[in-house]
Symmetry: C2
DNA sequence: TTGAAAGCGCTAACAA
DNA sequence: TTGTTAGCGCTTTCAA
């Protein structure tokens, strides 16, 4: 059953409130913004009028006048990647708590799409931006003076620009994971990692290389494959490793999609984990513990990453002049059957 | 190395363009909006000025003046639920293509949060709203005349309000799944389904009951448990089913989280799937095919659902008067080992 | 303590 | 075909 209402919706504005309260709109504005210099009794009269009319300030008008909104722009690679899912959730939670909303954009790792979205953020007058950059060296960003729109980077670093950033301790996490594999008796360790275009890929590579060095294992170039962080690429790269004349006895996969691809490739080759080849991945996923055997992973504190990004951004909005800072969060090893010792 | 820029950012406005092109701002507006009544040569002059200054229209001013924006409000239960993840992605894709952006909100199934977000949408002057309602009978929505903000519901229906809606064919999908179980020799079929407060729960219940009737299997109240659609509840309900003096030989779980809970509960009881108890779930998940045995599920066309919702909304924005309509998409059975015949 | 009025950047009605 | 101008609803300066 339809409810139709063809009257113009009686949305009230500040003048309506002013009229009802018998004051000027300036006074209403002062009251709503909780500014001083209003007699308590007038203040009360205004609030009563607000209640009575069900007045809600128009955020668009406010934004036009104030040259800033209560909207945070969020540009990530892809909301379908579970890594971002809880990052986004965290950001929305924190933002909402402070009266901010988020505009969500998927860049798909495409710099031109990122560019478009950055322009959009500018056009929409957002209060700030949380960005997972497609490139470290981002010319797009030079266009906008940072003083006009605060920016916080997430997961990846940006060079040549001084911004707040939230990162995972990729080097240390990867080192710890590789060390774990070595400790469990694996010496010939393959790695499928994202390309070095990104902070994450480069750092995880670095962690891998450092760990080998620490344990006196010579670095073998054919055991390290860097690809675009997608499932299909992880699959392909793993096949390549398994096809080596002397294949690795363990494989480290550098993100959730790569881990999934690696798992599928190993299964397709009917190899047993960890007897034929051990597997260690990045990112805890719902399925990490469900598959047989359970997969050992570096768990990223995804919710924390998002929460921190939002908090840092909001703090900057309060205090624009504070020094920028980089927050580095620690990953956590979750050890499961896929990497157990078979000695 | 920091780049500092303390000059006021030289953001250009329409007057700057007008001045440079030697016309009035009205003409600039006409050109930008691609309106008629501008001499081609003037049009070109204006575009050149726009290019030269790098002018970008201010969306906030436009929104204030036009009383509508290019923003779509999206209110879902929780972006962390994989069901919504691809729904949201689809909506953003379609919206972006048409020059719209999305504001993302998580209601957490909480009507008061939903209410807050609806108010926000109103305050932000959104062009339209895509909503997965927390309640069928939604008093919140009566507040806003639908003529002012077009609304499209997703996944769940809204009663007493005549809106566009995108739904899955829950009854038919569930019927087909239960029929499949019966065909494979299962007679004592338990069901863990969402509560009947939601369209989805009620319809899936209905499909379950109808399927039993069709096959002449008497309905046993103790075999049907309706709970809040969360993993923990799915776990609990499954335990309850398994603890019956005469437990079911197959279990149907009515959404992705319930399926996950059911799987974990069955495993915790060290029962074999499908020999001890078969399992059929709802929603295709990354892990459905990875676990052993693979889980039979009803796959929802989640991306399609989102895409359709966005398309229907955008079409309504173009043609506000068009009759409302309900689009019902079909689910698809994906048959795996978890429900194979053990006869 | 309060109000009048300017103006954020844009669109559109009306005038020329 | 083009320009002038009045707002959209709000904040804020300045004056009273």
């Amino acid at each position: 059953m339809a409810i139709k209402n063809n009257h113009k919706p009686a949305v009230k504005n500040m003048n309506d409130v002013a009229r009802l309260a018998g004051v000027s709109n300036a006074t209403v504005s002062r009251v709503m913004a909780d500014k001083p210099h209003v007699r308590p009794e007038v203040r009360e009269r205004v609030w009563k009028a607000v209640q009575e009319l069900g007045y809600r300030p128009n955020r668009v008008a406010r934004s036009l006048r104030a040259q800033t909104s209560r909207i945070i722009g969020l540009i990530i690679s892809d909301i379908q990647n579970p890594f971002f899912t809880s990052v986004v959730r965290a950001i929305e939670d924190v933002a909402h708590q402070q009266g901010f909303s988020i505009i969500l954009c998927n860049s798909d790792e495409d710099p031109s799409k990122e560019q478009l979205y950055l322009d959009l953020m500018h056009d929409e007058n957002v209060a700030g931006i949380i960005l997972c950059p497609t490139r470290e060296d981002n010319a797009n960003l030079q266009k906008y003076p940072l003083d006009s729109i605060p920016l916080v980077t997430l997961d990846r670093r940006l060079i040549n620009i001084d911004t707040d950033g939230i990162l995972l301790d990729n080097i240390e996490s990867t080192r710890a994971m590789v060390k774990h594999l070595v400790t469990n008796g694996y010496q010939r360790i393959g790695a499928v990692i994202g390309t070095s275009d990104f902070t994450t890929g480069r750092e995880r590579r670095e962690g891998y290389v450092m760990a080998l060095a620490t344990h006196g294992i010579p670095f073998q170039p054919e055991l390290l494959i860097q690809v675009s962080p997608k499932e299909a690429e992880g699959y392909r790269a793993t096949e390549q490793l398994l096809g080596l004349s002397e294949p690795p006895t363990a494989i480290f996969a550098g993100n959730n999609l790569l881990t999934l691809g690696a798992l599928k490739a190993i299964r397709a080759h009917h190899l047993r984990i960890p007897q034929d080849v051990a597997l260690a991945g990045f990112d805890e996923m719902p399925w990490s513990s469900l598959v047989e055997p359970g997969i050992t992973v570096v768990e990223q504190p995804t919710y924390e990453l998002g929460r921190t990004a939002a908090e840092v951004l909001l703090r900057r909005l309060e205090t624009p002049a504070r020094p920028t800072r980089e927050v580095v969060l620690k990953g956590k090893l979750i050890l499961r059957e896929s990497s157990r010792s078979i000695a």
